[in-house]
Amino acid sequence: MARMKFICDSERCIECNGCVTACKNEHEVPWGVNRRRVVTLNDGVPGERSISVACMHCSDAPCMAVCPVNCFYRTEEGVVLHDKDTCIGCGYCSYACPFGAPQFPAAGTFGVRGKMDKCTFCAGGPEAHGSQAEFEKYGRNRLAEGKLPACAEMCSTKALLAGDGDVVADILRNRVLKRGKGAEVWGWGTAYGSRQGGQPQGQ
């Protein structure tokens, strides 16, 4: 199996926040913590694009590199997970992550920063799969249930794709071929503007 990956088709994302809601509901994520969020580029400008962002489960994850207590690990499927029993809540991973994925609950007294929380690709954590302890710390383990991440499965327009990297790349490639354009997908051209199809002139 290839690595598990997310990809967001910005041609399809309608900023409904269904993925955010699905994630919060599935894992019972507390207030103040958003494992996933929708970001809109050029908001209000014709040709605006939205993308759904969470942990991208990097192949060479900066969070893993900077963690002083080495609480991160990677599964065989390429999912980057962490151990909350080892995490000290220092926040280094938050500074290192280019996607702003690490979240810190502020539910304690005086806004005490708790253990880091982030998208698990619905793969739980180091506790026993499907156990109550795993659910309370990391949320539901859908991959071990033979399912894909809730955010992607709940996406109404199927903009957010998740799964085996080869499969999701194939699905997106097919879409791009069918609609005859591909530069609008989340990437360099969308983020920084280009004059390719779908982008307003001069952007």
Partner: protein, 75 residues
């Protein structure tokens, strides 16, 4: 007397060098995902066998195609 004092002070000063390293060395023990959760059918997708890696991988591939590839569903 002075020499003894210096040696004692040096020994006292080097005590910290003898400390054992305090590193987080907890070994991550996470079972493979294809092992499943051991829960009954309504909570687990059907069509694959827990503990069988190839059936689990095939299940995820099939689910991705059926659930996310609308071109495959329509055509």
């Amino acid at each position: 007397m002075r020499a003894t004092l210096v040696i004692t002070a040096a020994l006292f000063g080097l005590v910290a060098c003898g400390e054992s390293p305090q590193t987080a060395n907890r070994v991550k023990q996470d079972a493979a995902l294809f092992q499943g959760t051991g829960k009954p059918a309504p909570f687990v997708a059907s069509g694959w066998k827990a503990g069988d890696r190839s059936s689990w991988e095939q299940q995820l591939k099939t689910r991705a195609q059926q659930g996310q590839n609308d071109y495959a569903k329509v055509n």
